[in-house]
């Protein structure tokens, strides 16, 4: 079943065409990668899927809702069913790590305080942070920790769908591989569907089930990584050459 369907999407910034008719679909339970050279509009497409950016043609369907014509109520419900991890964490700087993770739980559920704290502690452990980091403010922790805390916040509501924008960039190789393992584990156990933008080859090969490669405003390739090198595209040939 396709959780996300992108049909003929067009995006224009001023006089610059970013996407000229993108088509792709993401199935349930998949770890799906959006790849491509810098400036090809991967992050833009991700932002369009989570309703942060308008697109100028075509349609995007997420969890059965067409987001170009979605009502405010449906949009709000949709937002509770996905988690988004931004490239630099985007934690709220006035709240501690624990408060950042607890925020959606406090706002959207009626769970007891004690239960929320247990969930927060579980998420902190799950992403590999320590309890002693919980009371720190975002300005007091490193970039890698911000990313982990951002993932914990994205996972707070146990979403079915997770969007990750360059999850392993800025992490040391050990943390990056741990992150990959964590993502695979989450998918296997909780049946998450994960959409990510990534440049990390190791992470791409370790985690992704299927990929879409955006090049020249179009999808240059969509499918598994096994056949990717058969496509004639400069970007694909250089990017995947060493691994092939």
């Amino acid at each position: 079943m396709a959780l996300i369907e992108v049909k003929n999407v067009q995006t224009v910034f001023g006089s610059k065409v970013v996407h000229n008719g993108l088509n792709l679909h993401i199935n349930e339970g998949e770890i799906y990668g959006l790849l491509g050279p810098s400036g090809c509009g991967k992050t833009t497409l991700l932002r369009e899927m989570v309703m942060l950016q308008e697109f100028h043609g075509g349609s995007i369907e997420v969890l059965g809702k067409k987001i170009e014509s979605i009502s405010e109520r449906d949009a709000q419900e949709l937002r509770q069913r996905w988690g988004v991890l931004f490239q630099f964490g985007a934690l709220f700087s006035s709240l501690t790590i624990a408060e950042n993770i607890a925020l959606p739980l406090k706002e959207y559920t009626k769970l007891s305080k004690d239960m929320i704290e247990t969930i927060v502690k579980f998420k902190i452990k799950l992403v590999g942070l320590q309890y002693s980091d919980a009371h720190l403010y975002p300005s007091e922790i490193s970039g890698g920790m911000k990313k982990k805390a951002g993932l914990a916040r994205a996972l707070a509501m146990d979403p079915k769908l997770l969007f990750l924008d360059e999850p392993t960039s800025g992490l040391d190789p050990i943390s990056a591989r741990e992150f990959d393992r964590l993502i695979l584990q989450l998918r296997d156990m909780l049946g998450l569907t994960i959409v990510m933008v990534s440049h990390d080859l190791q992470s791409i090969y370790d985690t992704l089930d299927r990929v879409a490669i955006i090049d020249n405003k179009k999808i240059a390739y969509e499918g598994t990584l096994d056949e990717v090198t058969s496509v004639k595209s400069d970007f694909i040939q250089t990017f995947f050459k060493e691994h092939a």
Binding site: Q80, S93, S94, A98, L105, Y108, T109, K110, L111, S112, D114, M115, E117, T118, I119, V120, K121, F122, K125, L126, Y131, S132, A134, H135, Y137, P138, S139, M157, D158, Q185, D188, M189, L190, G191
Partner: protein
């Protein structure tokens, strides 16, 4: 969204918890609180049945392991009836990671003495930092004054336009209204004594000496001083200032001095505009309310208000400008690596610069009076 519910049954000292439906964060709320309050007195055995459950998420798994943990501490055996391997895996994952004992450590609370010490040391450090900023400012200033070709004229003119000329409209309007209001309020009092013509003396001295410079300074502090802080603060967060330093562009020469010089040059001009507009406002009220013709008003102004009052007002300009610009920029450079401190420092910048302007004005008042000017 599917609902979940709990069928609980207590027979023969056995508590059976029969969960049904889709167990998620949102659906478990209906019974989560009651379940936690449940006491296990007289309970010999607990049976948790998950066979009628269609899906569980980690929050639900935490709830289940919480029951198991609580039962465990009271040495009550728990039987988990679950045929779905994935559910067991989720519960396993949760039980590996979750910890019900250790609370999240909170920041330790400070005693009164520690707090006081902390506040004072912060003030002291702030004071030292300000002195250091001042020192650096003067050193750069002298270095650049000795080599005139290094002064960044382009930035200075840009800042003159941005922070002063674009403020002309609001300053003209504000001072016009102040002139109007002051004249209107005093016209009534003067009329009582039949001292109509003295409105010119009063307006002339108060506007030229005090009101116009102060109004201008306050508007500029709120408008341009705050924008200096926010702009430089944001540049600090995005590491632009660090980038400038590593490339050998002295931020003081590129950012600080042009702003201070631009504001010091334009402030007297703005005060002049404020003077004219406020007198104009007063003149209108004098004409309508007290029947003093503009011709008479100007003649009288010439006669009784000495030029020194006008010049004293203008002279204050560069001093006020210096205070507003330095405080605005200093506060911008004090911004730390989070978004909140931009707001905090911008507020501080405006409050401190208005306060500094008023203190400076008071010092001028005393000095000029004692000097007999």
């Amino acid at each position: 969204m599917k609902n979940s519910y709990l069928l609980s049954d207590f027979t023969k000292n056995t508590l059976s918890l029969n969960f049904q439906g889709e167990l998620t964060l949102c659906t478990i709320t209906s019974f989560q609180k009651e379940l936690e309050k449940l006491s296990y007195n007289d309970v010999v055995k607990i049976v948790i049945n998950l066979n009628d459950v269609s899906y569980i998420d980690t929050a639900a798994a935490i709830l289940i392991s919480k029951i198991r943990y609580k039962a465990n501490t009271q040495k009550i055996p728990v039987e988990l009836v679950c045929e779905n391997g994935n559910f067991l895996k989720t519960i396993q994952l949760v039980e590996n990671k979750v910890d019900f004992k250790t609370p999240i450590p909170h920041t330790q609370t400070l005693t009164f003495l520690e707090k006081t010490g902390y506040i004072f040391s912060e003030y002291y450090r702030g004071f030292v930092a300000f002195i250091a900023f001042f020192g650096e400012l003067f050193v750069t200033k002298f270095r650049y004054l000795t080599s005139l070709h290094k002064i960044r004229y382009k930035e200075i003119f840009f800042e003159m336009n941005e922070s002063a000329l674009k403020a002309l409209g609001i300053i003209a309007l504000t001072s016009f209204l102040i002139g109007l209001v002051v004249a209107y309020q005093s016209a009534y009092q003067l009329k009582l004594y039949g001292a109509n013509i003295f409105i010119v003396d009063m307006l002339g001295i108060s506007i030229f000496r005090e009101l116009a410079p102060l109004i201008t300074a306050i508007v500029i502090a709120g408008r341009s001083g705050s924008s200096y802080t926010a702009q430089i603060g944001a540049m600090k967060i995005t590491q632009e200032i660090d980038a400038m330093r590593t490339m050998g562009f002295e931020p003081f020469a590129f950012l600080v001095l042009p702003r201070i010089i631009a504001l010091m040059i334009t402030m007297p001009l703005l005060i002049f505009v404020a003077d004219m507009m406020a007198i104009f406002g007063g003149m209108i009220v004098a004409n309508i309310d007290l029947h003093i013709t503009p011709q008479l008003f100007i003649d009288r102004l010439n006669e009784v208000v000495a030029a020194k009052h006008f010049f004293i007002g203008l002279i204050k300009g560069p001093f006020f400008a210096f205070l507003i610009a330095t405080i605005g920029i200093y506060r911008g450079l004090m911004v730390k690596d989070d978004t909140q401190s931009i707001g905090f420092n911008t507020t501080k910048s405006v409050v401190e610069s208005i306060f500094a302007v008023i203190v400076c004005d008071a010092v001028f008042s005393i000095a000029f009076t004692n000097l007999g000017i």
